[in-house]
Amino acid sequence: MAAYATNDWYFDIDGTNLSAYLVSVNPSFTQATVETTAGSSTDHVTRSPGLEDASISFDIRADSAAGYSLALLKGSHTITYGQQGSAVGKPKHVLPVILTGISHTTQVSKEMVVYTVNGDAASAPTTDMYAGGVWA
């Protein structure tokens, strides 16, 4: 075994492979809880699982070769992400998303232009890496 420390990821939006342009990606999962504490002599809070939610944020670089359409960075899409590529058995995450924010900066100092994109889940992941989802 070894710690995973490389950038051999897979990333597509609606099937367009953007792996080469991705700078960073952060798929997240949250689990709400509902307090269920009851009884007069209870001395500890109890909770039950509430609604799950998911979101994703990523940075993707601009490229003069126009390897992708900026339209992919706005609206509703399906994002497929493989943390360790797309080999069978490796983690896979497929998330329908509504992209909620996009920004970028160009600077006179010629820093690389990167689009910062945020999105909220439109529904549950169809393949959830945080629930054991893998490439088949």
């Binding site: 792996s19 080469a20 010629k110």
Partner: protein
Amino acid sequence: MSRPALQAAYIAIENRLTAGAEPWGRKIRISVVKSGTTYPYVVQFWAGGGSANRIKQRDAELRIAVKAVSDKMADVMICAERITELLDDHGYQDNADDYLSGGTSWTILSITEEDAFFLAEPVSNTITVYHVGAFYRLFMQHT
């Protein structure tokens, strides 16, 4: 066979500085200049940088010093200004109509002039040799 980024940068700068009729002619040297080389001449040498790791593909961010050398201050100043005109902001993404070619292995995306330097070197009681130039930052992507 692919070239290292530094070699591609050296070649690109030499090609650029010898493309036209310039005061230094074809006298562009890398780091070392043979004794007896007539003035003015131009020297380029590595001054920092290497692989940048800013993108997944191979890339490089190099700092290369380019200077003119002459025993006449007026000449060396003219040469230094001409070097600036030829190199600064002449990467592919700086000026797609007029840019330094990185050859088949590399694209030079941007070239930015940074710090300038001036050195007066007394080589005898009557002769002073002047070194005037600047550091250039090249951001490159492997093709």
